[in-house]
């Protein structure tokens, strides 16, 4: 029998360090603030972040609520490593039922807010109810107050952050919604860090915050972070960081947008609303290298980050010309560039800045604009309906105007701001063919026809068409060695063999990374940042011995838990699909020419590996093996496939009447 690790023995075996398991439960309707002590076992089972949030929201039954009603609960939750010195341990999760998709909603965000939350001594906070008047939350260590925010209404996220820092102090961190969140635009996110923006962008959580009359959260913590084995962790970090730096130099120099040309060469870029296969000359004009040559001002990095991929820029055109802003990431550069056939980098930078100011998700916003341009080209949307705007491909003026209108929920922007799925259903016919979404979420800009494991990932990802839930295009290109997650089989980029297995393994691993609060770029550290190392860091941070197998199991558990949440809303195989543009049409040029993912085969394999029924429902046997009942006597059951105890997901009571064309 092996000896227990000396450190664990010293701690009496299982006392968890670093994690307080305390959260604030804030009811804006009642104006009440409660401190809740959650079971520490949640962090062993779910690791933190969206894993713990999923546990809370499942148990609260928020799958059954109106996403924009007061009964929806918005959870801000730190990952297990957030705010510790673990490299790239900067991410926190924001979760709720999504008003955009009607299913599980989550967005993760970097920056410094999560690190500040760690120093308060709390893991996170739940916001329920609806304030009678516009409000913001002030969190200072163990004190929370609900403050008047009438004077902040209508301000953009930069101004809101600036004003609140002036009021409370430069060391306070701010999360805020812009005008789009206030007006319940379904593409609204929550923005952190003012003009050095980091965004919890996806799934419309800014609208959930707006529905609660909550304009911002201001936070400051001053408590030391308690680590179990600080010297051991510091030594491990110092061994790891040089490898991470060496493997991420391109990200450091040019940011995520530095990858545009390589992505285009792989046939992985969305071009002209996903309809074209190559755009070499355009990609050469719209990328991170060009940003470095033109509008770049300085580098930016999140808490404890050795990569520092963020870029501060000066806005070259548009209403905020000359001002400092955060530079566009890869997704934004493709979304407002190749996706719209826009070769003008200045317009991309300005559109990104507008999204950050108004509080919009850049992926969904550029996605819906691309859809509208294709509809306009085909006569499905007219100039009269757009308010006189010629929404033709590559029209920079129109791109900026539409972004502004979506952000303000004005004119034609009100129609687009409901997202591509709803907008397409209103127009019907060909407009539905042009709509690129899964489960109501616009696609991130990595093409599943280029790396077909991404087809399995997009179809099954719990928040809809999310690239980060699997990140399998990293793995297929060798940027992350699959041998580190014990996958050694052969595969080809465009084939279907073994793709479901890659997707399942990577989804489980990425889920665990997400729950730990780690930035996904950490996997660029190759064998220096493997699941085994993360398990070692869990022990060094908490004192709880943890294995690679337990880490992967926790990821599997949390992924399935979110599927069970969605199952309560009626999500089954029928929803695990690619849109026609990606699942039926192939490309006529480029590296992914002729590729169509074999979804029938891939999904069959996927469900079998997951242990789900052929209808895509987690099986009862597996539910036991995930440890819900055994460990905690949980209420969680695999009854997702039973025809719902909840009204249809998309019957969301919108608080205003949408413009109907």
């Amino acid at each position: 029998m092996s000896k227990p690790p000396p450190a664990a023995k010293q701690e009496g075996g299982r006392r968890m360090r670093c994690i307080s398991a305390k959260v604030f439960d804030i009811d804006l309707t009642k104006g009440s603030i409660q401190e809740k002590q959650l079971p520490k076992e949640y962090w062993q089972l779910h690791l933190g972040g969206s894993g713990v949030a999923a546990r809370l929201l499942y148990d609260e039954g928020t799958y059954a609520v109106d996403p924009l009603g007061p009964e929806n609960i918005l959870v801000f939750m730190n990952g297990l490593f957030t705010g510790t010195p673990v490299p790239c341990g900067c991410k926190m999760a924001v979760c709720a039922k999504s008003p955009l998709t009607g299913i599980w909603g989550e967005a993760t965000v970097g920056g410094y807010f999560g690190a500040e939350l760690r120093k308060t001594g709390y893991e996170g906070f739940l916001v329920r109810g609806k304030a009678q008047r516009p409000s913001y939350l002030l969190i200072e260590n163990g004190q929370v107050s609900i403050r008047e925010a009438e004077d902040l209404l209508g301000l953009d996220t930069y101004k809101t952050s600036e004003l609140l820092k002036d009021r409370h102090g430069e060391k306070y961190e701010v999360a805020a919604i812009g005008p789009s969140g206030e007006k319940l635009v379904l593409l609204a996110g929550i923005m952190f860090g003012g003009s050095e923006t980091r965004a919890a962008g996806r799934t419309g959580l800014g609208a959930v915050m707006g529905s609660k009359n909550l304009k911002a959260v201001v936070i400051r913590g001053t408590n030391p972070v308690d680590l179990f084995d600080r010297p051991g962790l510091v030594q491990s970090i110092q061994e790891t960081v040089p490898v991470i730096k060496a493997n991420t130099k391109g990200l450091t120099d040019f940011g995520t947008a530095g990858g545009v040309m390589a992505v285009e060469a792989n046939g992985d870029l969305s071009i002209r609303n996903w309809s074209l296969g190559s755009w070499t000359e355009g990609a050469a004009k719209t990328n991170g290298q060009k940003i470095a040559e033109t509008v770049f001002v300085s580098h930016y990095g999140c808490f404890a980050c050795p990569i520092r991929c963020g870029k501060n820029v000066r806005v070259p055109v548009g209403p905020f010309k000359g001002q400092l802003a955060h530079g566009p990431e890869y997704e934004t550069t493709d979304g407002f560039g190749a996706n719209l056939l826009n070769e003008d980098l200045d317009v991309i930078v300005a559109a990104n800045d507008l999204c950050n100011r108004y509080g919009l998700d850049t992926i969904s916003t550029s996605g819906v604009i691309g859809w509208a341009m294709e509809c306009y080209e085909n006569g499905l949307i007219t100039k009269e309906e757009t308010g006189g705007i010629e929404i033709t491909w590559g029209n920079g003026e129109a791109i900026l105007k539409l972004t502004e209108l979506i952000g303000k929920r004005e004119g034609f922007g009100e129609f687009l701001g409901q997202g591509v799925k709803r907008a397409a259903e209103k127009l019907g016919g060909l407009a539905v063919e042009f709509a690129v979404h899964t489960k109501g979420l616009e696609y991130a800009f990595h093409d599943p026809r280029a790396f077909t494991s991404m087809a399995a990932n997009y179809a099954t990802a719990n928040r809809g068409a999310c690239h980060l839930e699997g990140l399998t295009y990293f793995a297929e290109q060798g940027a992350f060695p699959l041998s580190l997650v014990d996958f050694e089989k052969e595969f080809t980029r465009h084939g279907h063999e073994n793709k479901a297995e890659i997707a399942v393994i990577m989804q489980n691993f990425m889920e665990a990374m997400n729950n730990l609060g780690l930035c996904k770029f950490l996997i660029r550290g190759k064998d220096s940042t493997s699941p085994a190392i993360f398990a070692q860091w869990i022990h060094q941070v908490t004192g709880i011995p943890y294995s690679k197998a337990e880490l992967m199991k926790a990821g599997e558990r949390n992924f399935n838990l979110k599927r069970l949440f969605n199952g309560k809303i009626g999500i089954t195989r029928k929803d695990d699909a690619l849109p026609p543009r990606l699942g039926v049409h192939d490309k006529e040029s480029g590296a992914a020419k002729g590729s169509i993912p074999s979804m029938g085969k891939i999904l069959w394999d996927y469900y079998r590996i997951r242990g789900w029924t052929p209808e895509g429902i987690p099986g009862k046997k597996n539910c036991g093996s995930w440890g819900f009942r055994k460990a905690l006597g949980s209420s969680i059951t695999p009854e997702g496939g039973e025809r719902n105890d909840v009204p249809v997901a998309h019957e969301i009571r919108l608080h205003r009447v949408w413009l109907c064309l």
Binding site: P85, I237, Q238, V241, A304, P306
Partner: protein, 65 residues
């Protein structure tokens, strides 16, 4: 041996270099301030990690014309 007032330290996470002759004015640390005299709760102004993630910056060999 360099005096503490001329000894630089580097953040092993992000690469920020603390120079006692520059200090960290945004955090109220005015020069000259040796690294060893920084408050224990001082954090890296670039990435936010603590003093224990800093190591002595070893100067490279001096190059002469």
């Amino acid at each position: 041996m360099m005096s503490p007032l001329h000894t630089k330290y580097v953040c092993t996470v992000c690469g920020y270099v603390y120079d006692p002759q520059v200090g960290d004015p945004k955090a109220g640390i005015l020069p000259p301030m040796p690294f060893s005299d920084l408050p224990e709760d001082w954090i890296c102004p670039e990435c936010g990690v603590g003093k224990d993630l800093f190591t002595l910056l070893t100067p490279g060999p001096r190059v002469t014309d």
